[in-house]
């Protein structure tokens, strides 16, 4: 079926070209247009996605029934807890108030702890990616590759194309107004600071320009060759 369609399209493409030909000179040979480019093969695409949609539908139904079962289980746990509380404590008595709050905060803290531990590696990866992308900006040379250094946790060694050590990139996170300000400090082999770049900060928007500018101005006021 796809072949028929392509042939129809090819014929349609040839006709306007012959109409435009002038009798004096030969028209330039048009580049052969591949049939697939002129109109998308919608029906073929739809046929191809059908098994995928079917699988997605099955998965959705399974997920929905699993969600229903999970919420039913949660509901059962809650009603058992509620009935137990009612048996032992009157609703507005002080022990009951304290107990409900304690249970609530414990469950919330547990949930937060689980989420934090699950998301921690992803967050660390995202930060590392962000740092790697900007590590080269503090050095005047281009094309340095950075690897973790054995000197410390947040120190990266920069090597040029020949594998020679060119300098170090150090991640620092001093405390800012709203939270830590992540910066990269570039240090070359003569123990001179080559540059400082602000990578991320949590300052509120009105401060952000002042943060970056202030740091650059403060650094510019130093002479080069700071001894650590």
């Amino acid at each position: 079926m796809k072949g028929d369609f392509a042939e129809t399209v090819e014929t349609r493409e040839e006709t306007p070209d012959s109409r435009a030909a002038t009798p004096v000179e030969d028209p330039p040979e048009p580049p052969p247009a591949p049939a697939a480019k002129s109109l998308p093969d919608l029906k073929g695409a739809l046929m191809r996605t059908r098994p995928f949609l079917h699988k997605a539908g099955l998965w959705l139904r399974k997920a929905w029934s699993a969600a229903k079962r999970a919420s039913l289980a949660v509901w059962r746990v809650l009603s058992v807890t509620g009935r137990a509380l009612r048996r032992f404590f009157k609703k507005d008595s002080i022990p009951n108030l304290a107990l409900v709050l304690a249970l609530l905060t414990t469950v919330t803290a547990a949930g937060l702890g689980i989420t934090q531990s699950l998301a921690e590696p992803r967050i660390a990866d995202a930060r590392a990616e962000m740092f790697k992308a900007t590590m080269g900006t503090v050095f005047p040379d281009e094309g340095l590759t950075f690897t973790r250094s054995s000197l410390g946790e947040n120190i990266y060694e920069g090597r040029d194309g020949d594998g020679r050590l060119a300098g170090f990139s150090i991640l620092v996170s001093p405390r800012g107004h709203t939270g830590p300000v992540d910066m990269i400090v570039g240090v070359d082999l003569l123990r001179e600071v080559t540059g400082v770049e602000v990578v991320a900060h949590r300052e509120i928007r009105d401060f952000s320009a002042a943060v970056e500018q202030g740091i650059m101005e403060a650094l510019a006021s130093f002479d080069r060759g700071i001894q650590p």
Partner: protein
């Protein structure tokens, strides 16, 4: 009209939390400089609304009246912190551009008001639907304001360029005064539509 559809119509139009009830106007001013930020904020708030309405409605018979506010804050803050952590892990650029306004969802009046007025007094299914409806209404209001602001200040919508570069824009719309203007206009239009509908139904 079924009960569900009535709830959705309520959340989106009659009792739109930002445009009709005038709740949650702080994020509506602060996060609407671009439509992507507004969409992220609206979706995060919707997720928090649904989860907190679900939890509070499920626990409504256990929580005593006297400590309900403390319980609400605990539950809502828990869900907002989970949302913040998940955003930092899976959408770091959105988390950085929304910044401090994600943790501020805890004190967003919409979440708290729906917990107090609806979730504490209704069943779980209804409360989840209410959270979804109100969240969608909030998202719609944010997108409207952000659309106006982004279009007038940069000529783009969702960062697709609509106006050509040469057309002069109004950068003030990206700043706080422009935010107030855009929100005020949206509120005015909403009030006009509502009063006209009320006049028509009264007749």
């Amino acid at each position: 009209m079924t009960q569900t559809m009535k709830q959705f119509k309520n959340g989106l139009l009659d009792q739109n939390p930002t445009l009709a009830l005038m709740l949650g106007m702080c994020p509506a001013l602060a996060t609407t400089t671009t439509m992507t930020d507004a969409a992220g904020m609206g979706l995060t708030t919707t997720a928090v609304l649904i989860c907190s309405n679900f939890a509070i409605s499920a626990l409504r018979r256990i929580i005593p009246e006297k400590i309900r506010i403390a319980a609400f804050i605990t539950i809502i803050a828990g869900f907002v912190t989970i949302a913040d952590t998940l955003l930092q892990a899976f959408a770091p650029s959105l988390s950085r551009s929304l910044g401090i306004f994600i943790p501020l969802i805890v004190v967003n009046c919409i979440v708290f008001a729906r917990a107090e007025v609806f979730a504490f007094r209704n069943g779980v299914g209804r409360s989840v639907l209410d959270g979804l409806a109100m969240g969608m209404g909030f998202l719609m209001a944010l997108l409207v304001v952000a659309g106006v602001r982004e279009f007038l200040s940069a000529g783009t919508l969702f960062e697709f360029r609509i106006l050509p570069e040469a057309v002069p824009t109004l950068p003030v719309m990206a700043q706080p005064p422009g935010g107030f203007l855009a929100l005020g206009l949206a509120l005015a239009v909403t009030q006009a539509v509502r009063s006209k509908r009320k006049a028509r139904s009264a007749v």
